[in-house]
Symmetry: C2
DNA sequence: TTAAGTGCAAAAACTTTGCATATTT
DNA sequence: AAATATGCAAAGTTTTTGCACTTAA
């Protein structure tokens, strides 16, 4: 059975660290690959969506997998507003997007910015860090919430 | 007894919304004003530091106050890395700083960027939002963690 | 074979809430 | 006096962990 490229990329990256590919990790990987651009999921949402599968998957494993993949730089961990920790595919090289969030109603808009990427790279390199992800979060009040 | 400017600014802002100034809110305000630039505290740390005072202050009140002040735009709420929710004074107009965080050991460096501020303003205005805060978080691996 | 991964259930950490009491205006 | 704020303790969420069992390589 032929596997997709990102699947093999993940498998390779895991092996380099003495870690293993499992059906559960594969499920999570595939879910995020298929996710429409701009959608992001919480640990619980990931779990819910993958429950219907034949392979069993526990919430603990979801947490462990999400952390692992974020540490590997495969996922971005977003904290857009109070208690909204979500994950999405990290597309550092495809030019990842940023978020404008209303702190009152949580409404979220995305935007892109090339400059941001460059700033992130410069800053990281300047201190000898190796860049994984770079997120600008703009907190604001949306038009309707300004009126309240 | 003469009160400092930010104290009165807070008091006024509260009154505009029918809210009140209390000893507890004042304590929290003063704590953040005195905090050295670049330091940020968790709810629990705020509570610990203010316990020794003569005015009593419960953890619930700390949470309520932190949320209130963040919604008012007086504090910034930072989520720098997994489980490190911290607060600091919001200095939108004094040029606030941004963070470079090692996702492995949590080591954090600060940096400033004028461009960021401008991008934030442009983006917010472009969608009719009113800007409160604008944070760039760069996730990376620090030199020592790269070696592991 | 054996080191790594999983599920479960229990625990931990963090945050919120209801209600009676106290305070600000 | 009236409405808001506080403290306490209890409940809610979310996340982590220990351990026995399973599985990938």
């Amino acid at each position: 059975m032929e596997q997709s490229h990102p699947f093999n990329a993940l498998k390779g990256a895991l092996h380099n660290q003495g870690l293993r590919m499992t059906p559960q990790r594969s499920l999570v990987m595939v879910l995020f690959q298929k996710l429409p651009k701009g959608e992001h999921l919480s640990a619980d949402e990931v779990h819910q969506r993958l429950l219907q599968n034949q392979t069993p998957l526990s919430l603990s494993t979801v947490y462990r997998t999400l952390h692992l993949m974020a540490k590997m730089g495969i996922l971005r961990e977003l904290e857009l507003a109070e208690d909204h920790k979500h994950y999405e595919i990290n597309e550092l090289n495809n030019g990842s997007h940023h978020h404008l969030v209303c702190i009152r109603c949580t409404k979220t808009l995305e935007f892109k910015s090339d400059t941001m990427q460059k700033i992130g790279e410069k800053v990281a390199k300047g201190s000898g860090f190796s860049l994984l992800d770079c997120q600008l979060v703009v907190h604001a009040l949306c038009p309707s919430c300004q009126r309240l």
